[in-house]
Assembly symmetry: C2
Homo-oligomer: 304 residues x 2
DNA sequence: AGAACTAATGCTCAGTCAGAGCATAAATGG
DNA sequence: CCATTTATGCTCTGACTGAGCATTAGTTCT
C-alpha cells in the first residue's frame, strides 16, 4: 500500500500536513494519553499520521485509519480539536513548516501498543488534578513563580488570581487558559517556541512533551471536560458494564475534581441513561456494587 | 506585494489551503454575515483568503491580514472554528481538493464593503430564529417534510423530536446538529455534496450558499451562541456605549430567543461588567435610556 | 398643562438545582 | 458477632431562573 503524504507547497517552500491524535483512556481512575518516542527527540510526543488524499474521503476517517493501523486502537468517539499552524512549528530541527489538525479520540482500554506508551495525563499537566485539593505544585511552586513573574503588574496579578487563585471557584474547563498563562510566565517550555528564555532552573512543572504537544494536550483536556457536561462521552472510556463508583471515579479523573457521591448518584438517577444489569461486582472487600450498562439508545441532552 | 498562496501537494495531486471567514455583525437586532459573489457561482459565498507562509506567522494573523486588506474590516474577536477537508470539497467544477480552516470573526459595524454584501443570518438558517416563537417555516414546512423523510423509522422520529420537537426545551447551541439533520433529510442542499438527490421542489428552506458554506455558518452560529454564555463577546459587536435594551436585543438576535427584560437586567447588575456613563440615549419616542460602557478591564467568567 | 405613549426600573414568588451533611443498609472477612 | 467497606436513601439550604406585577421617568401629541 502506498501512502500519500500530504505536502503543502508555497512558492517553493513546503508545509507538511499532519493529523495529530490525543488518544485518551482512563485506567485505575487515572487519565492517560498515548505517546510515542519521536525519532531524534528525547521527549515523548503525540502520535500523528498523514492524510492520504486517495484513501481518506474525510479528515476524520483519515485519522481513524492511521490510528487503527499504527496503534491497533479502535477509536470510539472522535472529535476535531484545533488546527495548529504557527510558523515556528517544524518537524525536525530545520524541517518544513508544519500544519497539524489535532483530534481527540477516546478508547476503552489501555492495552499497551508497540512503539507507544501510555503517559499519565497529570504528569503532563499536574496542576490540573485537584482531586486531592490544590496540588502542592500549585501552592509551593507555581504560585510563587507566577508572583515573581507578575511583579507589580496589576494586570498580571489579576490574571493569576483568576486562573490560579483560591478566591474564585476553580473552573475545570479552562485548561488552555491556565496553560497559556504558565507558558507566558515561562514556566512550561515549548520546543521551538521559548525564544524568551528557558524556565527557571530546577522548576519541575510537569513532564515536557515534544514540540507544542503539551499545548495540544491542554486543548484536548479542556475540550473533553467541556463535553462531559452535556454529552455522555464518559461511556466511551468505560467497559460495557461498570459500577457507579467506577463511573464517578472516571468522571473525577477527567474533571480533576472530587464529586459528592450521593449527589452524583442522584444526578445519574434523574437522567435515565443507565440501566441496572442485576449483576453484582465483587470487589476484594466491602459491599459489592451493582453493575450498570449505558443505554445507548437514549441519546438525551443534559447528562451530567 | 507578492502573495504566496499555500498549495498542498500529494504525490502530484494538489490540495488548496484557504482561510475562510464567517464575519458576523449585528445591525438593527439582526445578525448578519459578510458574503461575496464568488466568480462562476450564482450563489453567495463566504469570503476566504490564502495563507501567506512568508507574511503570516500564525494562521489567525493570516486571517486578520487578508480580511483587513480585502474587506476593510478590522476583526475584534477572532476564533478558529473548524477545519473542513472532505474529498468532495473542490474549488471549481473540477478544481483541486480544498482544505479550509474556518474562522469566526466579530465586527462592530456593518458598513458595506466593496464586492461584498451583508446577508441576514436567518435568511441562511431561518429555523434558528425563534424570537417570534416557532417559525412558520418549521411548523408548516420542515416538520412535515421531516416526518415524510422519517417514515416509520423510530430512530429518525426520535432524532427529529430531539431537534425540532416542542416537547424538549429548544437548545440554541445545537445549530449544527439541526443543520445536519436537515441535510440528511435532503432539505438543505450543498454544492457537490447532495449526490443523494435534490431537495423537494418548491421547498424553500432558506437562502442557499455556495459550496458547503451554509454548514460553516451553522458551525459559526452554534459556536458563537455557546461563547455568549461564558464570555463577554457580545461587546465586540456593539459600539463603545449602548443602552441595556440594545444589549439585550443583540443577545436575543444571536441566540434567536426572547429574554425576560427584568431578569436580563438583573443578570447584568449582578456581574459587574458594565458601568453607567451618565449620558442618556434619546430615541425618537419614549423614555430615554442610560448609556452603558463595557468595562474591559474586568474579564470575568459567567456573563452575557 | 395634561394625556398618551414608550421604555426603564424595582420587587416578589415559585420552581429547579447544586452542595453538603446525616443516617442506614448490605455484603465481606476475621 | 464485629469491624470494615461501600452502597443507598433522605433532608436542608442557598443560588439561580423564569415569570409576573407594579411603578417611574422621560417624550410627544393635543
Amino acid at each position: 500500500m502506498r501512502v500519500h503524504r500530504a505536502k503543502i507547497r508555497t512558492m517553493g517552500r513546503r508545509l507538511t500536513l499532519s493529523l495529530d491524535a490525543v488518544i485518551v483512556a482512563v485506567t485505575a481512575d487515572q487519565p492517560r494519553i498515548l505517546t510515542t518516542r519521536a525519532r531524534g527527540s528525547e521527549l515523548p510526543a503525540l502520535p500523528f499520521g498523514p492524510l492520504d488524499t486517495d484513501l481518506d474521503p474525510t479528515l476524520e476517517l483519515g485519522l481513524r485509519r492511521w490510528v487503527t493501523t499504527q496503534t491497533g486502537h479502535d477509536l470510539g468517539y472522535v472529535e476535531q480539536l484545533y488546527t495548529f499552524g504557527d510558523r515556528d512549528r517544524r518537524l525536525g530541527a530545520s524541517g518544513t513548516r508544519l500544519l497539524s489538525i489535532a483530534y481527540l479520540g477516546l478508547v476503552k482500554e489501555a492495552q499497551p501498543s508497540p512503539g507507544a506508551a501510555w503517559l499519565d495525563c497529570y504528569e503532563v499537566l499536574p496542576w490540573e488534578d485537584r482531586r486531592a485539593g490544590v496540588a502542592d505544585l500549585v501552592a509551593n511552586v507555581l504560585r510563587p513563580a507566577l508572583a515573581r513573574w507578575a511583579g507589580r503588574s496589576a494586570a498580571r496579578r489579576h490574571r493569576i488570581d483568576a486562573n490560579f487563585g483560591d478566591r474564585r471557584p476553580w473552573d475545570p474547563i479552562r485548561v488552555l487558559e491556565r496553560y497559556e498563562l504558565l507558558y507566558e510566565a515561562q514556566l512550561v517550555p515549548e520546543y521551538q517556541r521559548d525564544h524568551a528564555g528557558r524556565p527557571d532552573a530546577g522548576l519541575q512543572s510537569g513532564t515536557e512533551l515534544a514540540y507544542d504537544h503539551r499545548r495540544i494536550v491542554a486543548t484536548a483536556l479542556g475540550r473533553l471536560r467541556g463535553k462531559l457536561k452535556y454529552r455522555p462521552v464518559v461511556f466511551e472510556l468505560l467497559p460495557e458494564t461498570f459500577t457507579l463508583l467506577r463511573l464517578q471515579g472516571t468522571v473525577e479523573a477527567l474533571t480533576g475534581r472530587r464529586l459528592h457521591k450521593q449527589n452524583f448518584r442522584r444526578l445519574i438517577a434523574l437522567g435515565e441513561l443507565l440501566e441496572a444489569t442485576g449483576t453484582l461486582d465483587h470487589p476484594p472487600r466491602g459491599r459489592p456494587a451493582e453493575l450498570f450498562r449505558f443505554r445507548r439508545e437514549i441519546v438525551r441532552a443534559r447528562v451530567y
